[in-house]
């Protein structure tokens, strides 16, 4: 099997001195779906931002066998799609079309290929016909789907999702889980939503205080009540 992501002895502190990652280690194989769960401030989002080189800490981060460096940052970002927690941060263009086209255009693809990818991406998230819509007129569920489309249009091999189900109503959450389940890429999902992780990811990593404290099959981890409670998580009722 091929390694999609390899993180070894990764340390990172924010400029204010807060240590967000402390000896983080994990390996994710191509084709896997892995949930990363943990309390607030465990370093989940910070870790995701390392996996496409937005943050650079001390330690080893390799994506598809390539160590992240200045020379290959562009090709790594086109292979790793990161969906941010708040779609208002991710959708910054005046129209949906412009936003979904943003990634392919920065990859300098020709115009007809960009248009094809935009319509495929919108089709994949079930948002065909929204091209000319303005983001602030969309519901939060629609915004989340468009945010995923903005990343899918780059045809990434790895999809990183930060709290994909936060702020969604039950129906929106269910639709999103179904949508993500059907996407045939390697997925890393950071969340508190154990129910979603259980449906989406066969493997789960618990993060706490900047490092991986537990790693194994999701079914085992989410049924280990003492383990969950020790790390600020609660079992699915």
């Amino acid at each position: 099997m091929e390694k999609a992501i390899e993180v070894e002895n990764l340390y990172f502190s924010y400029p204010d001195g807060r240590q967000a990652l402390k000896d983080m280690n994990m390996t994710i194989w191509v084709g896997e779906s892995v949930g990363i769960i943990g309390p607030n401030g465990a370093g989940k989002s910070t870790l995701l931002l390392h996996l496409n080189g937005i943050y650079r800490g001390q330690g080893k981060v390799e994506v598809l066998g390539l160590p992240i460096g200045d020379g290959n940052i562009k090709s790594i970002r086109s292979k790793v799609g990161l969906v941010f927690q708040n779609p208002d941060d991710q959708l910054f263009s005046p129209t949906v079309f412009d936003d979904v086209a943003f990634g392919p255009l920065s990859m300098q693809l020709p115009e007809d290929e960009v248009r094809r990818r935009v319509s495929h991406a919108l089709e994949a998230v079930g948002m065909v016909g929204y091209e000319e819509r303005v983001p602030h007129h969309l519901s939060i569920g629609e915004k989340k789907r468009i945010a995923i489309a903005t990343v899918l249009s780059m045809r990434p091999q790895i999809l990183l999702l930060d709290e994909p189900t936060s702020n969604l109503d039950p129906a929106g959450r269910w639709h999103l889980i179904e949508l993500l389940r059907q996407l045939p890429v390697t997925k890393v999902v950071a969340s508190h939503d154990l129910g979603m992780v259980a449906q989406l990811c066969p493997r789960t990593i618990i993060m706490s205080e900047g490092r991986a404290v537990s790693d194994g099959p999701t079914a085992e981890i989410i049924s280990d009540v003492p383990l969950l409670q020790a790390h600020g998580l609660s079992p699915i009722p």
């Binding site: 496409n52 970002r77 990161l82 303005v134």
Partner: protein
């Protein structure tokens, strides 16, 4: 939350809506230039400009009361700046309309001063009318693309586009903060209220600053390296040429008329 700042009538179908945004931007700029260049003594020129912009307003199918109401918003701002003009024109004999003696000062209002005031207000109002037509007959995103295609510097186009996108997000944030304050507010003294408003402005600034960081990260994650590229579906049609030529000839005629006749 839903806001309708400029988009409300952007989807109507009329001759003006069908025009390419570039045509509208250029003709509007030409119109404003003509209005500004017409001296206040040639009031006939203003009348003709008004007839022109009014017929466009009728063509646009926008509700006229909407245009009128929105155009009046600018008047107080203009008046605040321009109200002093009649007092500052040096009084020449026979030009004074009336004088006010306030203790040591002798303020006199002159005819030429009043004429300038009339000119400033009319120019502002006519220009605003044309700008309203421009901004409500096109979608904002198309206007931004039009500016981009016309060669307006990228920085300005991007700033405009981001302002438009995040204005509503920030207003939402402010609304939520106000609701949170009001639900805990039992009516304090006014300076206490002022303090809470100050805190809210500060918080809003910090949140917006942090958001800009995250937006930048989201852009960088999708390969942003300093330049935003967009695709545009804007195509100049024959109608743009007809309209542009007709409109510019109207402007030239009005210009000639008001400079030669009067």
């Amino acid at each position: 939350m839903e806001y309708q700042l400029t988009d409300k009538y952007g989807d109507l179908d009329s001759l003006l809506h069908r025009l390419d945004p570039r045509t509208k931007i250029l003709t509007t700029v030409a119109f404003v230039l003509l209005v500004v260049a017409t001296p206040p003594s040639r009031w006939q020129g203003y009348a003709l400009c008004f007839i022109l912009v009014a017929s466009l307003a009728l063509l646009s199918r926008l509700p006229l009361t909407f245009i009128l109401k929105r155009s009046l918003v600018i008047i107080p701002f203009v008046l605040v700046i321009a109200i002093f003009i009649p007092f500052f024109k040096p009084a020449s004999p026979g030009d004074t309309v009336f004088s006010l003696g306030i203790w040591l000062w002798n303020l006199s209002v002159t005819k030429s001063g009043l004429l300038t005031l009339f000119g400033v207000v009319t120019k502002a109002w006519l220009s605003v009318l044309s700008m309203i037509l421009l901004s409500t007959t096109a979608k904002f995103s198309d206007l931004v693309k039009g500016l981009d295609k016309l060669g307006v510097p990228k920085v300005m186009v991007m700033t405009l586009s981001f302002s438009y996108r995040y204005l509503f997000v920030i207003v939402d944030e402010l609304t939520r903060m106000r609701q949170a304050r009001d639900s805990r507010n039992f009516g304090g003294r006014w300076w206490w209220q002022m303090r809470s408003i100050g805190n809210m402005i500060g918080t809003l600034f910090i949140r917006s600053f942090e958001r800009s960081e995250r937006v930048y990260q989201a852009m960088a994650a999708r390969g942003y390296e300093g330049e935003i590229v967009t695709l545009s579906h804007l195509r100049l049609q024959p109608i743009d040429m007809y309209f542009g030529c007709l409109f510019i000839s109207c402007l030239i005629l009005i210009g000639l008329f008001s400079f030669l006749i009067a």
